[in-house]
């Protein structure tokens, strides 16, 4: 179930990042929406991780290199454009992934069938904001372009094969590129031209290599749990 754990880590880590927005969103509606997305992801994470062990032991007692999430999920939240760009890249990926996973009829299919509905909403939400920011003001356009450019090199990793998943992830990559390009185009944004992964680190999360930001994320997330070994909450 290494694949379930990898997908569970993605969802957990991104939920943790989105949780940082609570109370600080640009409009109150987004406090609701971002927390809602975070809750969906946290729910997916709990189901997936529970398939492979105790959810709390996995979340709170693993070391950095034992997490298998993509680096895209762990990057700092940045500004609202960075968050929107990540949500776009990630939710288009998740929608394709869960739809394909639901079709496999395997052990993860029921979960995927439920999640794909949630994720379609996340994708729609990200798309709407990509349009507003890309095609809004000069400033929002500039910020949004910088955000989609900056995150591009973390997107290749999403389509690395995951053993035992039963989904042809590399095969989904062209569809993902098409869909993302379509949204970016409608948002008057340019599809980034650089590499979609880079040597050594960007794109090695699935091998347990993360970014400097991830250690700090874990320190915050795990501190309290680790400070009380064996306690129940």
């Amino acid at each position: 179930m290494a694949a379930a754990r990898a997908l569970g880590d993605d969802a957990l880590v991104l939920a943790q990042r989105l949780g940082e927005w609570a109370g600080d969103a640009p409009v109150l509606e987004e406090d609701v929406a971002l927390t809602n997305i975070a809750l969906d992801l946290l729910g997916q994470a709990r189901t997936l991780l529970s398939l492979t062990g105790d959810e709390d032991e996995l979340a709170f007692l693993r070391e950095e290199h034992e997490f298998r999430n993509v680096q895209l999920a762990e990057l700092p939240i940045g500004d609202f454009a960075d968050t929107t760009a990540r949500q776009l890249y990630f939710s288009v990926y998740q929608e394709l992934l869960y739809a394909a996973l639901a079709d496999t009829g395997g052990a993860l299919a029921p979960l995927a069938a439920k999640a794909v509905v949630e994720v379609a909403y996340h994708r729609d939400h990200a798309e709407q904001w990509t349009l507003r920011l890309g095609d809004g003001t000069e400033e929002s356009h500039r910020r949004m372009q910088r955000a989609v450019d900056g995150l591009w090199r973390y997107t290749g990793e999403l389509f690395e094969p995951l053993d035992g998943l039963g989904v042809d992830l590399p095969g989904l990559h062209p569809v993902w590129r098409e869909r993302v390009a379509d949204v970016l185009g409608r948002a008057t944004l340019t599809v980034p031209g650089g590499p979609d992964r880079t040597p050594w680190a960007a794109g090695a999360g699935r091998q347990g290599v993360h970014t400097e930001a991830f250690g700090r994320l874990l320190a915050e997330m795990q501190y309290l749990h680790r400070a009380h070994p064996g306690a129940s909450w």
Partner: protein
């Protein structure tokens, strides 16, 4: 005049006042003040609890806490909408909050220092809020009363979750128990202050009661809250930090010790532990979001123009 008489009759008959109805300016102003304060409290109130989302010690508790903070944002939305029925915009209300010209509940100027504070806020702060708010479900102003019905239902859920969180700590390790006791020690008195000054000292109470915005006096509600909490604290295995708290057979209620109103006044005056921090953070979030709101407005304007053009073309 006639309008005033119709208003008075409606209030007397417990008929709801609705946005289209005539109402006295002072009634409207009182509602705006109170409802805005209530809405502001929901959004400022996200901060002390959101402080623990990233550090929640189990995934189940993290999910519960996220959902709670989300509910608070939702309550803020209903309450701003309800306030807008009185002819003031959310933007205007937010500007007043940010300028310090409208208040939020002083309770949120206390810090959440440990995980147990999340439980204490649920049990005591939400508990006090519910005690205050349940009667508001019968408030004379319709939109406010209806918002309250929904909010109270969710709040009572939060209150139970807070209680259960504290129970788990109280029955946990000695460190967890101490954490729970410490949180209750810190939140008990501020929670009692949430009901406002003693009846003799309360500036707005009498008129609000006459208008049926308010249904019970501050001291009545406070007493009700104390009477609910004392037996719950016993079940929790936690002590309420008031040596004068004891059952009064003749009143059929618990007597409690004197409240330190000077602290209450200091916090109101802006000298509470987190007043500046809370308002600064709110202002910063709002300022950081300016470019986003501007983008959304610009996009909506372009998009509306597109639709107009489409209509024009269809007609031509």
């Amino acid at each position: 005049g006639e309008l005033q008489a119709a208003f008075d009759d409606a209030v007397a008959a417990d008929t709801r006042i609705e946005p289209r109805d005539w109402m006295p300016d002072a009634y409207r102003a009182t509602l705006v003040r109170q409802m805005a304060q209530h809405a502001h409290s929901e959004i400022i109130g996200m901060q002390p609890e959101a402080n623990w989302i990233t550090r929640a010690p189990s995934l189940r508790r993290k999910a519960i806490l996220m959902a709670k903070v989300q509910d608070e944002a939702g309550h803020g939305l209903y309450l701003y909408s309800a306030t807008e029925t009185l002819g003031v915009s959310r933007d205007d209300l937010l500007d007043k909050l940010h300028a310090g010209r409208q208040r939020y509940s002083s309770i949120f100027n206390y810090p959440t220092l440990t995980w147990a504070d999340v439980g204490a806020i649920g049990w005591l702060v939400d508990g006090a809020a519910i005690t205050n708010q349940v009667p508001l479900c019968r408030c004379s102003y319709g939109p406010y009363a209806r918002a309250m019905v929904r909010i109270c239902k969710e709040e009572s859920f939060h209150q139970r979750q807070g209680y259960e969180l504290l129970l788990a700590l109280s029955r946990g390790t000695p460190e967890q128990h101490a954490m729970a006791q410490d949180a209750v020690n810190r939140w008990w008195w501020p929670s009692l202050m949430m009901f406002g000054p003693a009846d003799g000292e309360s500036a707005h109470s009498a008129q609000s009661m006459a208008w049926k915005i308010k249904r019970h006096s501050n001291d009545e509600l406070r007493q009700r809250f104390v009477d609910i909490c004392v037996p719950q604290a016993e079940v929790l295995g936690l002590t309420l930090p008031d040596p004068d708290l004891r059952w009064n057979e003749s009143r059929g209620s618990y007597d409690h010790g004197a409240i330190d109103w000077s602290e209450f006044q200091e916090v109101l005056r802006g000298n509470g532990p987190c007043n500046e921090q809370r308002l600064d953070r709110r202002r910063t979030a709002h300022e950081n979001g300016t470019w986003v709101r501007e983008a959304a407005a610009a996009y909506a304007a372009k998009h509306a123009a597109d639709q107009d053009n489409a209509h024009e073309e269809a007609r031509a």
